[in-house]
């Protein structure tokens, strides 16, 4: 009760003093996009740091989806109200990298504050994704993930499928989806999050298909999209056909908000999502969950390439008071410790992004105790990445992601064939790339 009164008092006080209450500690705002179990764990990580020292307080603020968080941070930067730390997903990397003067590169931040920071400690595929052309790492890898497939072992059993042998190719997938629905084990076979990330970008990487020119955009701002090949078109057309047949259900744009509930409710037997969905799925599923790598088309490639990462890194924004940056550096140092990393990775399903945290997990015997928990890292590191599978880097990619969803929705609605949709995506996407090049050239 007295706490409520006190808080009311604070609210009244802030009415008069528009800048808000001041604290002895330096408060450091951390905008993030983690909700639910992940958000709770993230708050725990911040609290863990706050408990280790008294000078700084990391204040995590949930700002909506990744897209919303990025755009809110940019708007805030323009308004000079930016947080010191913002979590930006991998598709925002191109935008952030082009924004020299707005970001405080992490290598520089750590050096300025006299803290050691060795990129060699991180998984090479992660570091490569977030380094500039000179090899300097610009943002702190925090939560990298890769998409995997989840499946409902109870449904598999009921449908007469082997719960220990998930489908490996899309041909096997189609058979399994049909069997699930025909047997009445579940009303739908497959649902998925992230049409863009999983069924467009990762699809291209897994099948060794180029996504954009100039090494998928790593080579410079002059890149153009080339993902409108027949294989991707076939895949989209298949998804549309399966939707019509009732064995696949679309989960909505961006992260597919309807998809996970469909899987958890037992409506769909198979579900593709980020490996980081594991925390929430294991916590909320009342059935046994299986984990498997993403399927591939064996008529396109004999054995699939590696999948590419997603998730996010922490970017430091310029323009905050100097004492905040000392706190940010200390916090990054804390985040990079193997214990924090391993705990975060094991709880959430994000990749163990430092070699030390992966080794720590192995020593702890974590992967043997939790079969399937290393599906993601194995899938991502199973071959040496080539230029089609090392990732993508494009400007304005947040908007382009929205275009992918739109075009895919047009296919589902029967307005366009997949090939028409992909051609249109290339045209519209390239227009945005040229615009970005002009604005940042």
């Amino acid at each position: 009760m007295s706490k409520t009164l006190l808080a009311t008092g604070t609210a009244l006080a802030t009415l008069l003093a528009s800048t808000g209450a001041s604290f002895a500690q330096t408060e450091i705002a951390w905008w993030h996009a983690m909700s639910g179990e992940l958000g709770a764990k993230l708050e725990e990580v911040a609290q863990g740091f706050n408990d280790t020292q008294d000078d700084y307080e990391i204040v995590p603020v949930y700002r909506g989806t990744y897209g919303e968080t990025l755009t809110a941070a940019i708007a805030a930067f323009r308004a000079n109200e930016q947080p010191a730390i913002v979590q930006v997903y991998e598709v925002g990397t191109g935008t952030m990298m082009a924004a020299e003067g707005a970001v405080y590169p992490v290598y520089q931040l750590m050096a300025d504050n006299g803290l050691e920071f060795d990129p060699a400690n991180y998984l090479s595929s992660v570091v490569g994704y977030y380094s500039d052309t000179e090899g300097n790492i610009l943002s702190l890898p925090f939560n990298s993930s890769t998409p995997i497939m989840y499946y409902n072992k109870d449904v598999f059993e009921e449908a007469g499928l082997d719960p220990e042998t998930p489908p490996a190719t899309w041909a096997e997938m189609e058979a399994a989806m049909n069997q699930i629905v025909d047997s009445g084990a579940a009303p739908c076979g497959l649902t998925t999050a992230w049409i863009s990330w999983i069924h467009t970008e990762n699809f291209s990487a897994l099948h060794d298909l180029p996504y954009g020119t100039m090494e998928n955009g790593f080579g410079g701002l002059g890149t153009e999209f080339v993902m409108n090949n027949e294989h991707l078109a076939t895949h989209w057309d298949n998804l549309k056909r399966w939707q019509d047949e009732g064995i696949f259900r679309y989960g909505g744009p961006e992260g597919g908000p309807d998809a996970q509930p469909l899987f958890l409710a037992g409506e769909c037997g198979l579900f593709m999502n980020s490996s980081a969905g594991r925390a929430a799925i294991v916590a909320n599923a009342d059935f046994e969950v299986g984990f498997a790598p993403l399927p591939y088309y064996d008529d396109v490639i004999d054995s699939p390439m590696n999948s590419i990462i997603g998730g996010a890194t922490l970017w430091t924004l310029q323009g905050r008071p100097a004492e905040e940056y000392a706190g940010v550096a200390a916090f990054y140092d804390y985040l990079s410790s193997p214990e924090v990393q391993a705990d975060w990775h094991q709880f959430t399903g994000y990749l163990p992004i430092t070699n030390a945290s992966y080794e720590l997990g192995q020593e702890q015997g974590y992967y043997e105790e939790n079969p399937g928990s290393d599906t993601s890292i194995l899938q991502m590191t199973r071959v040496e990445p080539n230029e089609n599978s090392k990732g993508i880097r494009f400007g304005s990619y947040t908007q382009i992601r929205a275009l992918i969803d739109e075009e895919f929705e047009a296919v589902l609605a029967g307005d366009k064939t997949a090939q028409e949709a992909l051609d249109s995506l290339v045209t519209r996407g390239n227009a945005l790339l040229r615009e970005f090049e002009a604005a940042n050239g």
Binding site: I74, A99, S396, D415
Partner: protein, 294 residues
């Protein structure tokens, strides 16, 4: 412009009295509008670090962009749908309440409160009712063989947002229609009844024509509402999707500017919208409120 026969002759005071209103208007209305016009001729990077003057490029690109023309069409469908549905239901309710003496008040109370519901909340209420997996309406529609899916089918999404926006607006239209009906002299109706005209005929030949000033006024207000006040309905539900099916102009300004970070294009769209509002306000004051002398 009209004033009093006698007036105060104080020199400084009127300026002082007007100062707060004028200051707020100039700082928060006119200055930003001027800024919008300026930005509409510029290209800017998302962080606002570099700006280039590009003349009419933003405008020419907009009108060459099928998604922008699509937004015009979508706005039209949305505005017509919202206006028609909410006005038709409101008129029916008002005519019914007007027939009643004592119980009319109770019905009025039960009908007017949605005015106080925020558009975004109205959107979420209907979004929940139409939720494909747990919503009650898709279940009912399913019984009739309709496979409701506003995630994919653009028309379903459009119907959803039209219903949500119209639902909230019924109360407003209802009150104005009721006020209009109550101002029609009963003697007119009685005279027609004596001539043997039935209730439906009387409504269409006498009451409805007499209501036309109200109807026309509401038409403008509702179009205005559908075009500008429904941002929350869209943002709380479809966010303009699927595939731009519900991306109305006012939402697109926000989406392109704040989410798409294309400041120049968003500013150009703002300018075009301003012209539309000015047109609507002009029509409203030129043809609707003639009895009010400004």
């Amino acid at each position: 412009m009209q004033t009093k026969r006698t007036i105060f002759s104080n020199k400084g005071l009127p300026y002082l009295l007007l100062a707060p209103q004028l200051a707020v208007t100039i700082i928060f209305f006119i200055w930003p509008a001027a800024q919008a016009i300026k930005s509409s001729f510029e290209r800017e990077d998302p962080f606002g670090l570099r700006t280039t003057f590009i003349w009419f490029d933003n405008y020419t690109r907009l009108f060459a962009d099928p998604t922008y023309l699509n937004a015009f069409g979508r706005t039209l469908i949305f505005a017509v749908g919202v206006t028609f549905i909410s006005m038709a239901i409101a008129l029916l309710m008002a005519v019914a309440v007007n027939r009643l003496l004592r119980t009319g008040k109770i019905y009025t109370t039960l009908l007017v409160w949605p005015y106080a519901v925020a558009p975004v909340v109205a959107g979420i209420l209907w979004w929940f009712m139409f939720n494909p997996s747990i919503g009650i309406l898709p279940y009912v529609l399913g019984q009739f063989g309709i496979n409701w899916n506003h995630r994919i089918v653009g028309n379903h999404a459009m119907i959803l947002v039209i219903i949500a926006a119209a639902w909230k607006q019924i109360s407003y239209n209802f009150l104005f229609f009721l006020a209009g009906l109550q101002s029609i002299p009963a003697s007119l109706n009685e005279a027609a009844a004596i001539d043997g005209a039935g209730p439906f005929k009387r409504f269409w030949t006498i009451v409805f024509p007499l209501l036309s000033p109200t109807t026309f006024f509401l038409l403008i207000i509702n179009v205005n509402y559908a075009m500008f006040d429904t941002f929350g309905v869209i943002d709380g539900t479809t966010s303009g999707g699927p595939n731009q099916a519900t991306n109305i102009l006012v939402y697109k300004v926000y989406a392109d500017g704040f989410l798409g970070l294309n400041i120049g294009s968003s500013a150009a769209q703002s300018v075009i919208l301003m012209l539309i509002v000015i047109g609507l306000v002009f029509v409203q004051f030129r043809y609707v409120e003639r009895r009010v002398q400004y």
